[in-house]
Amino acid sequence: MADIEAYASQARAWLAETPIPENTGTEVSRQFMAVLYDAGYSGISWPAEYGGQGLSTAEERVFQQAARGKALPTGVFGIGLGMCGPTLLSLGTEEQKKRYIRPLLRGEEIWCQLFSEPGAGSDVASLQTRAVLDGDSWVLNGQKVWTTVAQHADYGLIIARTDVDVPKHKGITMFVVDMHAPGVTVRPLRDMTGIAHFNEVFFDDVRIPQDQVVGGVNNGWHAAITTLLHERLSIGMGSAAPDRPTSYRSIAARAQQRGLTEDPAVREKLVDLYVQERALELFNARLAQEVKAGINPGSRGSVTKLLLAELTLDSAETAAEIFGEGVVAHSEDDELARYAAALAWAPGMALGGGTNEIVRNAIGERVLGLPREPQVDRDVPFRELKVGTQKKEAGA
């Protein structure tokens, strides 16, 4: 315990004296990761033999707590540190771990994750990107979508179909793909906010050496689950900041400034928002206390994810109801612009990292232990399955 205290005060001191760049550009992030690494705060609980610090998750947590509210510019490494790195540590070969982990922790290489496809969203296992063995390498063809930071990435973890004669879960393989390899095309995907937060990635005859298979040929579904478990945890942990424009505090303060709280209907909406936001905040705080007390949260991170998705949508609507017409038509510098942006951004949280329907399935099945739905495609060879979006049949 005393050691942890000492570690915590050391971390706080380091954070206090280290200049934190405000710019979050890729170059700045790379340099800052190197600074973190040299100070021993990158990969705190990762094994020392691959470049981590070899400490426990207790130290990792202590550092995260100390860094809370500091906005460390490490965003572009989030996918690598949160998902790809941990997957490689669990399933990668010795050579892969030696080759990839240290440069990730030092900010030298950026990673992305390539799972979703236009035809495989909630049902990722129905993916159609193919990898065919040709001599000593695999040849990759297909399209991935919703790929965060692909435009900056040096490497990606990708899953592709390697056997079409077995059921869909059994013919998938995970690879490390070089994002600079010939045949890789990254195109920004402009989402409904008008900005490209994600990318589409196309693969045309991209060659992947055989030693870049992660977790074994046709074992990619298991590998993908390992990655996705890390994803849910990292989404759940990033809960809503109190000063975001659609927080109760911000909306209530602005409504009061404008004299809108005289209206009982406005007060009613504000109370709704307060109760919804506070209940989630208290749940997150309780979950954190449980984790600290050594209780495994299991799949209950899904609860946070679902509630945050609903709060994000509801609070944007509440703002629109309270501030009225100005939210949808305003001059460029109007402060109400932030609510138009919030409305446009809001559906993202209910779709990314599992749609609300998929998350409700997870809560029902993994938290409550309810029986799964019968799966009609479970034992059917992939080549016989209907996948993606089908054409409407003539006369139907």
């Binding site: 506070r278 208290l282 309810l370 029986p371």
Partner: protein, 356 residues
């Protein structure tokens, strides 16, 4: 802020739970609800005597255990889970907290030891309609007094010179008529006063003490609601794993599964809100007014929604008298309204958040 139970609190919960499972299973609850007895006297006596939980939050100098509201909340959670028909909330919470908040030394010495020992069943009447004269006699009619017909000691809020004051009256000194109640596990009565002599307890203006009393009551009532909510959800989840229709367990249908997932989200939040409110009642008096209003605005409606869905998802069997679902459904609604309808708690919340 502490939102998880301590080891001691978990042990207390476990002790009360196993006691209630043996002493007052749902068949016994049903017997009391359908019978003439106003409450389960035998279980009440054993809760007081063997478990010693009736005076948990009463300081030791007044015969109590000197524990906190967080411990009272733990007991209430178990009583709410088992639907135990005993006057714990009326006597050990409303009356005991009123006496503590009113801080009338003589009254505390006289009344608290009996309440703590469970030998005096007390209640608090906080409805409007009673006035006190300068000579401290009471006139009027108090509606919906919890355990009003069977309590030994009534603490009655009466208007004295236009301000609320609290008076103590012995139960047998007044006219009491039991009301028809939706929730048969929680009796209520009309109490009538006619130049009834009474004893003033605490200050002539008890506004602050009453606000504090009702806040503590609302904060811990949330735990009773949490207990019932959790029981309803557990029951219906287990049922949907057993019930087969169309060749499938009904819990495998998304139409059912997704509703249950949403109810689980309510449970997680209700537990968090209830623990927070109980913590605030002990440790953060400045946060209590908001926490208590939040707790009642959240857990009351949440419990009713879960109880309702739990009844509905049972299908037709849930609508029968023989099934236990209606007891929870009715308790959920009666406890949601016990300290006022949701608009009251939401109004208080708006006020305490400084809106308007």
């Amino acid at each position: 802020m502490r939102l998880i139970l301590t080891t001691e609190q978990q042990e207390l919960a476990g002790a009360v739970r196993s006691f209630l499972a043996a002493a007052a299973p749902i068949a016994r609850v049903r017997q009391v609800a359908e019978g003439e007895e106003p409450y389960d006297r035998k279980t009440w006596e054993r809760l007081a005597g063997e478990l010693g939980v009736t005076g948990l939050a009463v300081p030791e100098e007044y015969g109590g255990a000197g524990a906190g509201r967080a411990e009272v909340a733990v007991v209430l959670e178990e009583l709410g889970t088992a639907l135990t028909p005993v006057p714990y909330f009326a006597s050990s919470v409303l009356a005991a907290e009123a006496l503590l908040a009113l801080d009338d030394e003589a009254a505390k010495r006289e009344y608290l030891p009996g309440i703590a020992a469970g030998t005096t069943v007390a209640t608090l009447s906080f409805a409007e309609g009673v006035t006190a004269s300068a000579d401290h006699t009471l006139d009027g009619r108090a509606e919906r007094v919890l355990h009003g017909a069977d309590a030994d000691l009534l603490l009655v809020v009466a208007s004295l010179d236009g301000k609320p004051a609290v008076f103590a009256v012995q139960g047998e000194a007044v006219q009491r008529t039991p009301l028809e109640v939706l929730d048969l596990t929680r009796p209520q009565a009309v109490v009538e006063f006619s130049a009834t002599p009474a004893r003033l307890v605490g200050p002539a203006d008890a506004t602050e003490a009453l606000a504090r009393t009702l806040d503590v009551a609302g904060a811990v009532l949330a735990s009773e609601q949490l207990g019932g909510l959790r029981r309803c959800l557990d029951t219906i989840v287990e049922y949907t794993k057993l019930r087969v229709q169309f060749g499938r367990f009904v819990g495998s249908f998304q139409g059912v599964k997704h509703r249950l997932a949403d109810l689980h989200c309510l449970l997680e939040q209700a537990e968090s809100v209830a623990r927070y409110a109980a913590w605030a009642a002990d440790e953060a008096p400045e946060e209590l007014p908001t926490a208590a209003a939040l707790a009642q605005a959240y857990t009351g409606p949440a419990y009713f929604r879960v109880a309702k869905e739990h009844l509905l998802l049972h299908g037709g069997i849930g609508f029968t008298w023989e099934h236990d679902a209606h007891f929870y459904y009715k308790r959920a609604k009666s406890s949601e309204l016990l300290l006022g309808p949701r608009r009251r708690h939401r109004g208080l919340l708006a006020e305490r958040l400084g809106l308007g």
